[in-house]
């Protein structure tokens, strides 16, 4: 009965959950910058959720340190389906300058499939918005496939 | 003569309460309860007393028209009250024994596990 409504809404109300897997905070700040009046992703329905249970899109920043690996994976697992995993910045994608460090066990795609990866150190807000918009499309597809 | 009774009764009650308020020894508190009880009993008996009345039981002498009884009801009440008082004292003392076994003291200031 509501299938169409729900499918259409899936792309319009993506809630983000942000995980810092050992990031330098650069990407984190950029992500928060998206909420400022200048970029205002809330107009697209984005919202930062307080808990993974509410999230649709998990945004991971940082090169996945040994300490954070289990916690990141556990939190990602706790997000209800359908979900999209987005990596933000170069770190989770390739470990960036931290590659080879004894304490870095990334990149993240060794452990979970990544849907969208936004490159850059740090990515520009426009790039992030673009990536997130792509993520919402994937979200809609996942919802539709169900 | 009755005035003395009343004063005595009130004095006993007050002494009893005094003991319950001031004495920290729980045995003394129980004694206080007893004294209050005696005061009350005295008061009740005094209430039923009529100056010059005879005992409210079967008498061997002749009953003349001028004779009257003391009121029998308060005496019955007093009997009941005495019985109850004795029971209260017995029960309280039994509890004191058990409390002493548990706490090793009779000081009410130290028997205060239930507070707050």
């Amino acid at each position: 009965m509501f299938k169409k409504l729900i499918d259409n809404s899936a792309a319009r109300s993506p809630w983000l959950f942000h995980i810092n897997a050992g990031s330098c905070n650069g990407c984190d700040i950029e992500l928060v910058a998206l909420l400022t009046p200048r970029y205002d992703v809330e107009r697209l329905g984005f919202k930062l959720a307080g808990t993974p249970r509410h999230a649709d899109i998990v945004v991971v920043t940082g090169p996945v340190t040994a300490q954070s690996k289990d916690r990141v994976l556990r939190t990602i697992a706790q997000v209800p389906d359908p979900k999209v995993i987005v990596t933000l910045g170069s770190c989770p994608r390739s470990c960036n300058v931290f590659r080879g460090s004894y304490s870095v066990v990334g990149p993240l795609d060794k452990y979970v499939p990544i849907d969208v990866s936004i490159a850059g150190c740090t990515p520009k807000p426009e790039a992030i918005i673009d990536g997130l918009a792509l993520a919402t499309q994937i979200l809609k597809e996942k919802r539709g496939a169900k | 003569m009755m005035l003395a009774n009343y004063i005595g009764a009130i004095a006993l009650i007050v002494i009893g309460f005094y003991a319950m308020i001031v004495k920290h020894d729980i045995i003394k508190i129980v004694i206080g309860m007893g004294i209050t009880d005696y005061g009350l009993n005295l008061l009740i008996v005094s209430i039923g007393f009529n100056e010059g009345g005879t005992a409210p039981i079967f008498t061997f002498g002749e009953l003349t028209s001028g004779m009257y009884f003391v009121d029998p009801v308060p005496q019955a009440l007093t009997l009941t009250s005495i019985v109850i008082g004795a029971c209260v004292t017995a029960m309280a003392l039994a509890l004191c024994v058990r409390l002493y076994k548990e706490y090793g003291t009779l000081d009410s200031r130290r028997i205060r596990r239930l507070h707050g």
């Binding site: 808990t51 556990r74 | 319950m20 009250s81 509890l95 409390l99």
Partner: protein
């Protein structure tokens, strides 16, 4: 229709309990026999009282029974009367129901105690004592029954004598309770000195209007004495100790029934014997005491760490509601107060029984140690929620119906007297209600919800024989809340009329027309007409609820294909969210709840906590001070 046969029922109802108490002793260690006798006795008594509902409540008869057929001679009552009007029957029913349910619960509950032989002897003695008080028509009889009751209650409080708390509580209870008994006996003696009779009806014909200083003193004494038995402020600490330490089924009786005898006594003394309730000063006194009991006890309850002790403070808080309502001396107030009395017996009984179930299953009632029991004991948790919603006045349960009547009664009183003080009383009532809710959320969070401590992994639901009485109580909580109209029509209305119409009570005992000849004023203290300021229709609410529920269910069924799946599992995905950490045992315990509230009222809360020092002498001081203050107040304002 003739009611001759019913004359014997009240006295049989009382005797049943006492006879049963002795037979149970003879049964010795044969548990089955003991249970059968006790069960039979409780049921017989209950059915005897139920059979009186039609003649007394519906047809408005007053049943008088003279022990040994010593009927009044020339307007003087010599014999001992048993007199059952609607008010007595109301309290009698309440007693019989609570006793029967608590008794059936105890069959299984006390098997955990090794020396449980004397339990039912004391239990039935207590029940008989209470029943004797509410049905008796004789002041000294009331005193004797009061003592029997207190005695059995002290014995039952100390029943779990392996528990030092129980002995301590019993001792304090005995000592402070003796103040109350002393007061009652003193008052009785003084009344006898004045009237030369102990019959309630005759006293209430002779005394009103003939107040001299002795009688004012006697009134103050009786009022304090019955107040002590109802554990009103400042007698509340012993109630907390005693209810908390006694076995749960006994707590049901002490809190649900025992305290009601105090309330009953206060009604009889101030509405009947002395008819002082018409005085503004008297109303103010009772309402003030009620409000203080209500507020002090509910804030004390918020501070507690023991399930049963918390419940104990709540019962005094609810008694505060009842006293407040009765102090208004308006028909709605009396009806609301009586309504709350029966509701309090039901929901507090239910809550104490759930506390007993928790104790039975886990061996503790300490809030900080428990948690997550709803998963292991789902029925008990559901029952607890019914009780909690009832006591905190969530519609449509019974607590709300009676509280709602009390709010209206207080506010109407405010309008009638033009005094804003009564409006503040309404506010205190509402605030108390929300604080009650808070403390039950605290219990829910720390006992039934949250995480389950490891040591309770093997806890089982309570046996069926314990759950049945609880379910009956829960059903009664729901039904009495759902049909306030029927309650008013068949129970509260007649009882309220009986409270206000003393002349009929007097006439029934002493012969028709006696009241008019002797009594100085037979006018009503207030018109026995219930005036509601608002409306509340629980049945319609429930209907609307069901309709909307059906609609929501239909919608969700229609959309079930497109809805997300519901998943249950025991893996990392379904583990509790801990910010990414592995799920571990972490439980927000009761002491940490409501910090924002406690922080703001810390001065008051700490003071009250220190004041409940646990020292017997302090409690005696409070009691004696109350006695003195009430006496002085009565002398000044009467």
């Amino acid at each position: 229709m003739t009611y001759e046969i019913f004359k014997h029922f009240p006295v049989l109802a009382i005797m049943c309990y006492f006879v049963g108490a002795f037979i149970v002793t003879l049964a010795g260690k044969r548990r089955m026999l003991r249970n059968v006798v006790a069960g039979a006795v409780m049921l017989i008594s209950l059915s005897l009282l139920l059979s009186l509902v039609v003649p007394v409540m519906v047809d408005g008869q007053i049943i008088t029974y003279w022990m040994g057929n010593w009927e009044p001679v020339e307007g003087y009552a010599i014999g001992i009367a048993i007199e059952v009007d609607a008010l007595s029957l109301f309290f009698g029913l309440l007693v019989a129901i609570a006793v029967a349910l608590a008794g059936f619960y105890s069959f299984r509950y006390i098997t955990q105690d090794d020396a449980n032989g004397p339990f039912f002897t004391l239990f039935l003695m207590l029940s008989g004592g209470v029943m004797g008080i509410v049905l008796s028509g004789d002041l000294f009889n009331i005193y004797v029954m009061l003592e029997v009751m207190t005695f059995a209650a002290v014995g039952l409080t100390a029943f779990r004598s392996w528990n030092p708390n129980a002995r301590e509580a019993a001792f304090k209870y005995l000592v402070v309770g003796s103040i109350g008994s002393t007061c009652v006996l003193l008052g009785t003696a003084l009344v006898y000195a004045q009237c030369h009779t102990l019959n309630l009806a005759q006293i209430s014909a002779m005394l009103p209007g003939n107040m001299n200083p002795t009688m004012v003193f006697a009134f103050a004494m009786l009022f304090t004495g019955f107040g002590c038995k109802s554990f009103m402020f400042p007698f509340q600490p012993i109630a907390a100790d005693a209810h908390g330490a006694a076995p749960s089924s006994v707590s049901v009786l002490i809190s649900g029934v025992f305290t009601k005898t105090g309330v009953y006594g206060i009604i009889r003394v101030s509405y009947f014997l002395f008819r002082t309730m018409g005085l503004t000063s008297m109303q103010t006194l009772l309402v003030f005491i009620g409000c203080v009991s209500m507020f002090v006890c509910v804030t004390m309850a918020l501070n507690q760490h023991d399930f049963k002790r918390l419940l104990a403070f709540h019962s005094i808080s609810q008694i505060g509601y009842i006293l407040t309502a009765l102090g208004l001396c308006s028909a709605l107030g009396i009806a609301g107060g009586l309504y709350h009395a029966i509701n309090h017996t039901l929901f507090k009984g239910l809550l104490f029984l759930t506390a007993g179930a928790v104790l039975y299953a886990t061996g503790t009632t300490y809030l900080e140690k428990l948690g997550g029991l709803a998963r292991k004991m789902p029925q008990t948790a559901a029952l607890f929620m019914v009780g909690a919603f009832s006591i905190s006045g969530i519609p449509p349960f019974n607590g709300f119906a009676s509280k709602w009547m009390i709010y209206q009664a207080t506010y109407e009183k405010a309008a009638e007297t033009g005094s804003i003080g009564y409006a503040l009383v309404t506010v205190v009532c509402v605030v108390t209600s929300v604080l009650t809710l808070a403390s039950f959320i605290k219990v829910g969070q720390s006992v039934f919800f949250g995480q389950l401590p490891l040591e309770y992994e093997n806890v089982k639901e309570t046996p069926l024989s314990m759950r049945i009485p609880m379910w009956i109580m829960a059903a009664l909580c729901f039904l009495t809340g759902l049909f306030p109209d029927l309650m008013v029509e068949y129970l509260l209305g007649p009882a309220t009329a009986a409270v206000l119409d003393t002349a009929r009570y007097i006439d029934a005992a002493m012969g028709a027309g006696y009241a008019e000849i002797v009594a100085n004023s037979t006018a009503y203290l207030a018109e026995p007409v219930l005036v509601f300021a608002g409306t509340w229709d629980p049945v319609s609410w429930l209907l609307l609820f069901v309709i909307v529920m059906c609609a929501v269910t239909l919608v969700s069924l229609a959309g079930r294909r497109s809805r997300g799946a519901l998943t249950l599992a025991d893996d990392a995905k379904h583990a509790t969210f801990f910010g990414g950490e592995e799920a571990e045992f972490s439980h927000v315990a009761s002491g940490d709840l409501f910090w924002g509230f406690k922080h703001n009222l810390r001065g008051y809360l700490n003071f009250m906590s220190r004041a409940h020092s646990g020292i017997t002498n302090d409690y005696v001081v409070w009691g004696v001070c109350a006695m003195a203050v009430i006496t002085v107040y009565c002398f000044i304002f009467m």
